[in-house]
Symmetry: C2
Subunit: 292 residues, 2 copies
């Protein structure tokens, strides 16, 4: 059994990007510039945005954090997005979700220039991805593809079963794993809350990608020997024996399923660390596209 | 066994749209206006566009056929599209494919204003569909949904197997059948040229949607009793006993599979006639959206 080590791969990618940026500087080129918009002061959002900014510094990107008060109107946020769209110095930007109630998230995502949409949340990017055109792929799915690729996991002709149809993981993964090319070319089954006899389906899977959010949902008796398991679940489960008062659990019973799996991602340290690396990679791609 | 009668349903829909247009006229409102752009004089394309224009007349739409010579440059076509995008009298328009070699189809589809893209081919529409936002759904998938709905075929929790991952049928159907709502909420397996043991998969299906283009590919021993079968295949097979010299065959062995099916579309007369009806419906929707 091989652990798909997202922490290590994420570090490798950041090092590769840092090396790329070093060369850009050497050539006297502009380095990638990522902006992040944070509305309000939700603690978790602050942490996420903070680590994105820190990662930018680490690889040598320029970064800008735009903070706006929790009382920001939709109009004001849309105006700020317009500015970022037109600011030639910014290669890509993200709007940290969730947004305060008075702001329509859909309207905001639609306002982002698709060529700067490094989160890959604009429908134009989503559609391009589904139609096999060049596009920004959302960070979590992009990270899963990268993990499969770096560990040379065979996907062609395999049966990939995806658990969960969310817009940011399940649905894009179902598209990406069935596209031509590598990783891809899988027969893909997308399962969700209306699926019956889920265990019958997962038992047939060569690859299971779970993005359900139910701790230890996938048990050993639901998979076959040699299965590849990608666990996207991240749930806090209270645990008094832990100094934090909780532990992070994935969707997969790691100990049980691990005994049958050929490859498996741990939680934490699997898919999670990949997302920021892929956001950086998208920003690098955005910079390269603006050059040409 | 019930035949899903696309010819009849298509007629019903056209009658409903004609009634809607009659009411619009009564209220003194502008009626929907569809434009079709045809570059060159390919015989099949002429026939398709001709029947689209005729259907517009039948339901009371205004229609405009824009014919351009086979030697049209990409630049000239893009200029024409720009005109149609800005022409307030046109509610929706289509560019008949295929286009002559010197023109990049992707560039052309990207140039169409998504709010007038009644073919649903622009990536923004595709992405909106995948992200459960309001969007123009391409005519063939839209027609399949309509058939399932009008015959009250249960889809929730059913296992839908799709054969073929084309941009205009297989991939959008895989998304639509797994979305929340009705028709949808199916567990969906998308199969394609890299799929192994296809018969093992189709045998598990409650619903099979085949868009492969291989005549009589799906045989009785590949499906279970009570299966619902949607046949999107249309292939000309030479047949000297037929005055035309050919017959139209679907992907499904209709006689054999029909004995086991609960619902089945014939070819011709199933999915085919639905497409023009749904193009008209999209044009009606485009008009309604422009009003508001």
């Amino acid at each position: 059994m091989t652990i798909l080590d997202g922490k290590k791969i994420s570090n490798d990618i950041k090092n590769e990007i840092a090396e790329e940026v070093r060369k850009m500087k050497e050539r006297g080129e502009k380095v990638p510039h990522l902006a992040a918009v944070l509305v309000g002061d939700d603690g978790a959002s602050l942490t996420y945005v903070g680590s994105k900014v820190k990662s930018c510094e680490r690889v040598g990107f320029e970064s800008t954090l735009v903070r706006m008060p929790a009382t920001t109107s939709e109009e004001e946020l849309l105006q700020k997005i317009k500015e970022l769209n037109h600011n030639d110095d910014i290669d890509g930007f993200i709007v940290q979700l969730p947004l305060p109630r008075q702001i329509d998230e859909q309207k905001v995502l639609m306002a982002v220039d698709p060529t700067k949409d490094v989160d890959g949340f604009h429908p134009e990017n989503f559609g391009k991805m589904a139609l096999d055109m060049e596009a920004f792929i959302p960070a979590t799915p992009f990270g899963i593809l990268e993990l499969l690729e770096r560990y040379h996991v065979e996907t062609k002709g395999k049966h990939t079963v995806i658990i969960g149809r969310s817009h940011i993981v399940g649905r894009p993964m179902s598209i990406l794993m069935s596209r031509k090319g590598y990783p891809g070319n899988s027969t893909v089954t997308l399962t969700h809350s209306s699926t019956q006899n889920i265990a019958e389906i997962t038992k047939q899977a060569d690859i299971v990608i779970s993005a359900l959010g139910v701790p230890e949902f996938l048990k050993a008796d639901m998979v076959k020997d040699g299965v590849v398991v990608i666990d996207v679940g991240i749930t806090r489960v209270s645990d008094e024996s832990n100094p934090k008062g909780y532990v992070i659990k994935g969707d997969v019973d790691f100990v049980g399923v691990g005994k049958k799996a050929s490859f498996i991602t741990p939680v934490p340290g699997g898919v999670g660390p990949m997302t920021i690396a892929m956001l950086l990679k998208n920003t690098l791609l955005a910079r390269e596209q603006r050059k040409s």
